[in-house]
Amino acid sequence: MRHLLNPLDFSVEETARLLDLATDIERNRDKYKDICKGKKIATLFYEPSTRTRLSFEAAMINLGGSALGFSSASSSSASKGESVSDTIRMVSCYADICAMRHPKEGAPTVASLKSRIPVVNAGDGGHQHPTQTLTDMMTIRSLKGRLDNLTIGFCGDLKFGRTVHSLIESLVRYPNVKFILISPPELRVPSYIREDVLEANNIPYKEVTSMEESLPELDILYMTRVQQERFFNEAEYLRLRDTYILDKAKMALANKDMLVLHPLPRVNEISVEVDDDPRAAYFKQVQYGVYVRMAIILTLLGLDKEVQ
């Protein structure tokens, strides 16, 4: 039995197969509409995340299956002190696959050790969010036609932004990818990303503080939100929140085919005036997210070959 806990659980070849399947789902929705008939996904969300939970549930429903679960720890047995290990043993009796979001890092790994059904990490603290990473990769591949030969700028909270860490770790596996890391000094990427991922793989990168100077160089601009829930100190959060705001004037500095991605939700880091710009890809990303999660469900349930 296979789980998805980290985006690197899939090799480059497996990732290509998964994204091919997601693309086929996008093009031939009807072909997949009953493939999971009678199957259930349990969405175990110990912290709220409307978009991710609905995306998983929509993915299973699109495949002909159904969904059950909870959307906050307070509405689950966790509020009575039940451990993740016990909860997953119980859920293994009710569902065929589960997606777990948990504020504590490593909780889905703990679940996978006791589970009798595939576990998908739907985000664990500041650690990993593999389905978001695969969604980001599908967005880039679908709209740019490639995952190699790209200059990608990450902007905002690069310290706590798990989507940034996961996407960098995934993209360094492709040839000729360069990174420009735009952040205030306090929110630079952690040292392990610099040393163990970028430098260890001889990947060209630079760390800068100016968004304007970097924009003309980019094929992709990946914006992030400064996440209040990752700060123990409110004053620090408020000080850093408004450092970078992407607006129409800044977009004028960018290439005409640069894409703007964002894992959403945004607060104020992308002005709404950018939404109508054809380069704004963050809402398309949401749609790709459903196709990717459909492909993940099929792959982990071993149903991916049934329609090939």
């Binding site: 504590k104 490593g106 909780a107 790994t109």
Partner: protein, 142 residues
């Protein structure tokens, strides 16, 4: 010259960096074992100047010495049987360690589910990097 009697069955851990013996005593959980332990601190050593030595009288399968490779691979492990050295164990970095190190990441699942085993995996042998099995946080050696 200080004399400590020889042991019949167990281990003699030699060439411990001076001052490190109490740390090893705790890492090995010797405080929890009902056996004779002799700790010799600051013994004279031609090779090291000063060194610590630990003698443990116990069955040889009682203690997992893997952790020593993590603490200091220069320690010499002499295995004693019938009062004689029968083997000298070469220390290597353990691939994983269970309930030896503790994850200090306040966001780790082990911070709230304390019945979980504390497992650390060797992820970079060259740099001696261990990461938490769950949250993958790097363990910073004290």
């Amino acid at each position: 010259m200080l004399n400590v009697g020889s042991i019949k069955e167990g281990f003699v851990l030699d060439h411990i960096k001076a001052g490190k013996s109490m740390e090893i005593y705790h890492y090995l959980g010797l405080d929890k074992l009902d056996c004779q332990v002799a700790i010799i601190k600051n013994a004279k050593s031609n090779k090291m100047g000063h060194k610590d030595i630990i003698k443990i009288e116990c069955p040889i399968d009682v203690i997992n010495l893997d952790v020593l490779g993590y603490i200091d691979h220069n320690i010499t492990v002499n295995i004693i049987h019938d009062s004689a050295i029968v083997d000298k164990q070469k220390l290597t970095l353990p691939k994983s360690m269970k309930n030896v190190l503790k994850c200090v990441n306040p966001r780790c699942i082990t911070s709230i589910e304390q019945e979980l085993d504390q497992i650390f995996i060797l992820t970079d042998e060259k740099k001696k990097v261990y990461r938490c099995r769950y949250c993958e946080e790097k363990y910073n050696k004290l």
